[in-house]
């Protein structure tokens, strides 16, 4: 379980480094790096904070991960969770956090 940071998209703004509950992300050469991928808890705070979609989350092979990644785009109260499979296929699950009707 860990995160992958897309170096091409990362602007080095430092939001992910500031939010990580494990203090595991540092900014070096204007890019975010995770100090040790094994230390990640998998809370996804960093990818929620990233405004350019550079951070994605995946399951390690040791817990059955198959190479898909998870991202989240937020527009207002709608959280659009996007799973990208190794084939490129994308699955969207949208959650409206302001909606109090039982799902």
């Amino acid at each position: 379980m860990s995160i992958h940071i897309n170096k091409k998209l990362c602007t080095g703004c430092g939001r992910c480094a500031d939010i990580c509950p494990g203090n595991l992300i540092v900014i070096e050469d204007h890019t975010a790096h995770i100090i040790n991928p094994r230390d990640c808890w998998g809370c996804t705070a960093c990818l929620k904070e990233c405004v350019v979609g550079a951070v994605m989350f995946y399951l390690g092979a040791d817990i059955g991960g198959r190479g898909s990644t998870l991202k989240m785009n937020q527009k207002g109260s709608i959280k659009d969770w996007i799973v990208t499979k190794p084939t490129g296929e994308q699955v969207h699950i949208k959650v409206d956090s302001s909606c109090s009707n039982a799902y």
Binding site: M1, S2, D18, I19, C20, P21, G22, N23, I35, P37, R38, D39, C40, W41, G42, C43, T44, A45, E49, F57, Y58, L59, G60, A61, D62, I63, G64, G65, R66, S68, L70, K79, W81, V83, K85, V91, I93, V95, S97, S98, C99, S100, N101, A102, Y103
Partner: protein
């Protein structure tokens, strides 16, 4: 690396900006007192609710009373819980839930406008953003100052009264000396003591946050605070691999536990929290594993409900379902986690008065670090923060001004930290010692390897090895502040291991399968209808068995 010393002067220090700490700050802010939160990471996403939560599991549902909640917890913990703490907490659960809603957390409602119950004691919420909401509620308050990325490394106690704390920045070469009239410890429970389910790449994919390393609990221990019920370890029954919670599935869609022969087996073992886990462990041992939650065949709407619910709390589980096929197509495999010390689920933590004051004057505790009050969960942690906040006011109004922290004490802390930062060619790293500690606890103090069981002889081995590792850890060196933090984390965890082993040794019975299963004493012994408490003096741990405190009592410390 040379540390800069900075002083912080505050009326009230809150150690830890998780749910209990943030809510306590919110309730304290009406006063004219200055409040300082010291948070290891960032209060917007720190503590065990960093990823969010999809239910409030402690709520008095329609037609029920706080006593109903207390009855349930007392039964579930087989009598080893504090009635006074449970009742005073239960009385405020709904108030806290409603206040959360006022602050912006969405509680789900049915067509009649009533909260949607998930079970007899819980309601469903959209709580992915619970921490940002709590953080927003306190960030703008003029008398609350928040220090993110600063970690408490010790309390300063003089003549049995707390007068401040010491902290280090996790990023910059700064040591903070905090001068405070009162302190609320809300640093959470302790994870990472035992070898985790997946010790490799995904070692931190554990249920409880690996960053909750018991800083406040260990600081209290060092200064002689009384500790209770550590031996009631919490072992979470979770989804295999992702260690995501199972309650959402079990209660949300009414899924039953089955073994690999499709047999429902829970009734054989019982329905308390520890018995449910024991069922899984025993079925595995008998060759009937793996165990599952029976979800296959649920309809697509329920499946999507579950996928969304997990995105609010444990996104890894939803990712796993999208990769492998959702819960409608296959049952969800379940497994026990490694053991944790956590007062929000089990009873481990500081021994507190009904006012939530520890045995150190002026040091209060709330949330997962406070003992005696199992199954407090989110709203219970808030209720404790609220109760502590009220009593901190009373304490500050009635006590003399706190003593000044003397220069010698400050100099000693600076020297200690500078010493850790001395350049050195060392053999061991904090990570290596952590692995050693986790192996010892796993093999000799009832980890996953032994199906959570231990005996008196294995505990003696565990104690000896933990003491050896503690000696090694004293000589660790750090090249930067992140490594310095790691040294404190391992020292804190090793101390908590020592206390935990002492507690396991002194509950000479098996009251809760798996949580505290001593094979030399495999049955319940009613003479242990008592709390096992401990405290440290001159480096030695002492045990005290205390009688049960009922819900009718108002418990105050007697010295």
């Amino acid at each position: 690396m040379k540390l800069t010393v900075k002083h912080i002067y505050t009326d009230i220090l809150i150690a830890g900006g998780g749910t209990a700490g943030c809510y306590a700050a919110y309730k304290l802010a009406d006063s004219r007192k200055s409040i300082t939160i010291i948070e290891k990471a960032n209060i917007r996403r720190s503590g065990c609710l960093a990823a969010g939560v999809n239910a409030l599991n402690a709520y008095i549902t329609k037609g029920r009373t706080p006593d109903f909640y207390v009855d349930y917890v007392e039964k579930d913990s087989h009598g080893i819980a504090r009635g006074d703490l449970l009742l005073t907490m239960a009385e405020r659960l709904n108030y806290c839930a409603h206040e959360l809603e006022t602050l912006g957390v969405v509680i789900q409602k049915n067509k009649q406008g009533n909260y949607v119950e998930r079970g007899p004691r819980n309601i469903k919420i959209n709580g992915e953003n619970i921490k940002p909401i709590l953080a927003d509620a306190i960030t703008s308050l003029h008398n609350v100052t928040i220090y993110n990325h600063v970690n408490i490394i010790d309390f300063i106690v003089q003549e049995h009264r707390i007068i401040g704390a010491v902290a280090i920045s996790t990023q910059n070469a700064i040591i903070y000396i905090i001068h405070s009239g009162a302190v609320l410890c809300a640093t959470g429970g302790t994870a990472g003591l035992y070898r985790p389910n997946q010790p490799g790449f995904s070692r931190h994919k554990m249920w409880y946050p690996p960053f909750n390393t018991g800083a406040g609990l260990a600081a209290g221990m060092r200064h002689g605070a009384e500790i209770t019920t550590l031996e009631m370890r919490f072992i979470a029954l979770r989804c295999k691999g992702t260690i995501a919670p199972t309650g959402t599935i079990a209660q949300g869609v009414g899924a039953k536990q089955i073994n690999s022969n499709d047999e429902e087996y829970e009734k054989k073992y019982g329905y308390t929290t520890s018995q449910r886990l024991y069922g899984v462990v025993t079925e595995d041992r008998m060759g009937n594993g793996p165990s599952y939650l029976q979800t296959k065949g649920i309809n697509k709407k329920l499946e999507l409900d579950l996928e969304k619910a997990y995105l609010n709390m444990a996104p890894s589980q939803t990712l796993k379902w999208v990769e492998e096929g959702g819960p409608s197509t296959k049952n969800v495999e379940i497994k026990g986690s490694e053991p944790y010390v956590v007062g929000g689920h089990a009873g481990a933590g500081f021994w507190v008065s009904t006012k939530r004051e520890t045995t150190i004057n002026g040091l209060f505790a709330a949330g997962d670090v406070a003992g005696g009050c199992p199954q407090k969960y989110v709203t219970g942690a808030m209720a404790e923060g609220y109760i502590a906040a009220e009593n901190i006011h009373v304490y500050l109004a009635s006590s003399s001004k706190a003593a000044v922290i003397d220069e010698q004490t400050i100099a000693a802390y600076i020297k200690q930290e500078q010493n850790f930062l001395e350049p050195s060619d060392q053999l061991f790293s904090a990570e290596n010692i952590e692995e050693g500690m986790q192996s010892v606890m796993d093999e000799y103090a009832g980890g996953i390897t032994t199906a959570y069981r231990y005996n008196m002889a294995s505990l003696v081995v565990a104690d000896k090895k933990i003491q050896q590792l503690t000696a090694l850890a004293q000589n660790l060196k750090a090249a930067n502040m992140h490594e310095l933090l790691s040294i404190h984390e391992i020292l804190d965890r090793l101390l908590i291991c020592r206390f935990l082993i002492a507690h396991l040794q002194n509950r000479k019975e098996t009251r809760w399968r798996c949580f505290s299963e001593n094979t030399d004493y495999p049955e319940i012994d009613e003479t242990f209808n008592k709390y096992v408490n401990s405290y440290m003096k001159d480096g030695k741990i002492y045990i005290k068995l205390r009688p049960i405190v009922t819900r009718e009592q108002n418990y105050e410390h007697t010295y």
